[in-house]
Structures are given as C-alpha cells and as structure tokens.
C-alpha cells in the first residue's frame, strides 16, 4: 500500500516514514498543504495522513481541495491541539479519522489499517444462501445456471442475503438501496423484488423473497421456486 504523509516537522516526518516503511507501506512525504494537494492529484494513494498545522495550506484546507476534486481516498488528520473544533471541522471537511499528538505509533498503524480495511476487503464479495451464490463484483447470481444482475439488484440482493430470514420494511430497503434523499417509493421496491425473484427462479434457486407491495419483505431459503 502507498501512503501520502503531509507533516511539516521534518524530524517527525522522518520518524513516521521509517516506521511506516518498516510496516511495509510505501510512503511519499511532503511538508506543506499545497504539495499535499499536488501529490494527491498526481498519484493514487491507499490512505493519506495530514498534519493540520502546515505552511502554505493547512491540513484541513488541503483536504477540502482534495475532496472537491473528487478524490475519496481515506484521510487521517494529526493535530497538536486537543481542540474539539479542529476535530469536528476536520471530520466534516471529509477526514475519516484523526489522532491528537502526542500519539502512540501502534495506534496510528491500527487506525491506518482500519481505514484501508473498509475501503477494500471489509464486506465479503461473494455471498451464499441456500444453493445461490451472489458475486457482488461480477454482479451475477449462480445456482444451476447463472444470470447477471443490474447494479441496484445486486445491492438489493446483498442486503437481503446479509439479513436472510429477517423481516425488512419497504422503508428501510428503500433507504438502504435508493438513498435517504428521496421520498420512499414502494412501487420501485416491489418492482425490483419482482425482478430478483424472476431471476432467482430462472437459475432454479431454492431461495425466494416473500412480501407484497409496501409490506415487509423476507428472504427465505429451502423453498422450491416455480
């Protein structure tokens, strides 16, 4: 993994770089916020660590510019002040985590691992319920046959499979897949559940989603679908 470290105290930067490299990270070190923005624009990083107090551009400003450019790489902020305002501003500006100085190196390493875990391998890519395997990367389900799913169908089935047997309301399904901004649309949920059931049937699955329009839905297994 590759990290971008923006810390203006050269001694501290050298020490952090050494320890991170010993933990098998490749590290690019810069010493001000402007350089951080440039580096972030030129290279792909797995995570970034920014000090807040830096010359030219502080860590929070640099972070805002990076986020505004559409870069969602996880960022951890280091702050010398144990000031709540700094932490709140930093997190709201798009930081994923923060650490106040002085900090223990092992805590920094653990937080970096935590940040990069969520970006990558945290959620299982392949789920299996009954005889049906859902590959979320390929957006396909297979049993006896295989068939492809649309993006929302994949997320919907993933939601049902990780909550198999539980009764899920139309509202929570809608918010989980279609987001919290629009008013709940029970018809589209019903339609997509219908699509999923048809596709499950087409691969001779032994699982099915039961429930009617605007009701609760449950993924049940051990069912013969025809």
């Amino acid at each position: 993994m590759r990290l971008l470290l923006a810390e203006d105290e050269k001694e501290l930067s050298r020490a952090l770089t050494a320890i991170l490299e010993r933990s098998n990270y490749a590290v690019d070190a810069v010493y001000d916020g402007q350089a951080a923005v440039e580096q972030a624009g030129n290279n792909a990083y797995d995570a970034m660590i920014f000090d807040i107090m830096m010359p030219k551009l502080d860590g929070i400003e640099a972070l805002k510019q990076i986020r505004a450019a559409g870069n969602y790489t996880p960022v951890l902020l280091l702050t010398a002040k144990a000031e709540i305002d700094d932490r709140v501003t930093g997190l709201d500006a798009g930081a994923d985590d923060y650490l106040t100085k002085p900090f223990a190196m092992k805590e920094l390493l653990a937080r970096i691992r935590s940040m990069t875990r969520r970006a990558g391998d945290y959620s299982p890519k392949v789920l299996k319920i009954g005889s049906v395997t859902l590959d979320t990367e390929e957006q396909s389900i297979s049993c006896e046959n295989s068939i492809r799913l649309a993006s929302k169908e994949t997320r919907l089935l993933e939601f049902f499979m990780t909550n198999a047997g539980k009764s899920l309301s139309t509202e929570e399904i809608f918010h989980h897949i279609w987001g919290n901004d629009d008013p709940v649309n029970g018809k589209v949920v019903f339609m997509y559940v219908s699509f999923l059931n048809s596709k499950l049937s087409s691969i001779n699955a032994d699982i099915i989603i039961i429930g009617g329009e605007n009701s609760d839905y449950t993924l049940e297994s051990g069912v013969s679908v025809l």
């Binding site: 390929e138 396909s140 006896e144 046959n145 295989s146 068939i147 492809r148 799913l149 649309a150 339609m191 219908s194 699509f195 048809s198 596709k199 087409s202 001779n204």
Partner: protein
C-alpha cells in the same frame, strides 16, 4: 432425383409445410384473442443434401436415407423466435396439443443453460403422415426438430456459431468467457422484460 433422402425428399417438404401451416394457424388464433404475436420469426428448412451428408459422415454413420431419416432427427428443422420467454412455452403447449405428433425428445436449455451460456428449447417431434415412411409404416412417421428461442437467445446463438466455425481465434478462452457473460446478461434482460410484461398485465 435420388439424393441422401432417397424418394422421400418431397414428403419432407410436405411435412415441413404442414407444420408451418399449423404454427401459422395457432399464431393467428392467438392474435385474434390477445392482439399479440406469439412469435417474431418463423423459419423452416429441410436440411440440405451437403449438410446431411457431412453430418452422417461426421457422426460415423453410413450416408444413406436410413441414417438421414431415422438416425438423424433434424432432416426437417423449424426455428421459432419469440419476443418473450413465456411465448416460447405458449408455443410448446400448442405444438404438444397436435394429436398426430409425439414428442420424442425435449431439452429445456432455458431452465438448464449449457455451460457455455447457450439457451434455447429443443423438441424432436415424430409426426404422422399419410405417406409411408422408409420403414414401410403407414401412416408414416417423420421426425421434425423444433428450436424455440427468444430474439436475444437467437442473436447470441448466431454469434457463438460464428466463433465455433472460425478455425483460429486469438484469446479463445477469454472470448468464450466473455460470450458467456453476454449470454447471462441477455438472459437477465429476457427475464426482466418478462417480469415487466407480467407486472403490466397484472395491474
């Protein structure tokens, strides 16, 4: 003119035409009832002399009328291409209702797709005819192979056919797996469109 089908070539044409007439008839009947066409394309052919000769040889059989009419069951071939999956099964129900036809073999590659992604419904019928057949039966018995597909399945099958007949293709393995992915995506469209049609009809 004696060929691989011996004296039976004209009978084959007649049987093919009779089946086509029946399919066209129930299609018109359905159209009267629902205003919908139960198939989009209907093609029929008697397998050409060359194709049948080649097939007999390829399968290791003597190139005789006996092989062509009794061992091979696709001397008469009909392909029905439909818009929706349910239309396929509607056609099958009609065909199975003909009292002088017996289903000798059927394979549902729609519910049980082939590993390469191929989907289709295959039926072999044995149809009775007033003309005697090569074994001396009266009424004579003649085989007809019927393939039923959706438009999407048919497009895919044509493309896959081209691949099979090209000698050397680079990245064969990759192409085969990508073709399968397409087959699964097309199947997804077929299933979704059928679902949409059902939702429209049920509302």
């Amino acid at each position: 003119m004696p060929g691989i089908y011996g004296n039976y070539a004209p009978v084959l044409e007649e049987i093919k035409d009779e089946m086509m007439k029946r399919i066209t008839a129930y299609t018109a009947e359905e159209y009267q009832k629902t205003g919908m066409k139960i198939h989009e394309h209907l093609i029929a052919r008697v397998k050409s002399e060359d194709s049948m000769l080649e097939k007999c040889q390829r399968k290791g059989f003597p190139q005789t009328a006996q092989t062509a009419l009794r061992v091979m069951k696709d001397s008469i071939g009909i392909r029905i291409v439909c818009s929706f999956i349910d239309d396929i099964y509607a056609n099958i129900a009609y065909i199975k209702s003909f009292p002088d036809c017996r289903v000798v073999e059927e394979k549902d590659y729609i519910r049980h797709a082939k590993p390469n992604g191929y989907r289709s419904y295959h039926m072999i019928l044995e149809m009775q005819s007033p003309h005697a057949d090569i074994d001396g039966n009266t009424p004579g018995k003649y085989f007809i192979e019927i393939q039923l597909r959706t438009i999407a399945m048919d497009s895919w099958a044509s493309l896959e056919h081209k691949l099979k007949y090209k000698k050397h293709v680079e990245n064969q393995e990759l192409i085969v797996s990508e073709l399968k992915r397409c087959a699964d995506e097309l199947a997804a469209c077929d299933v979704s469109m059928q679902t949409i049609r059902n939702l429209i009809h049920n509302s």
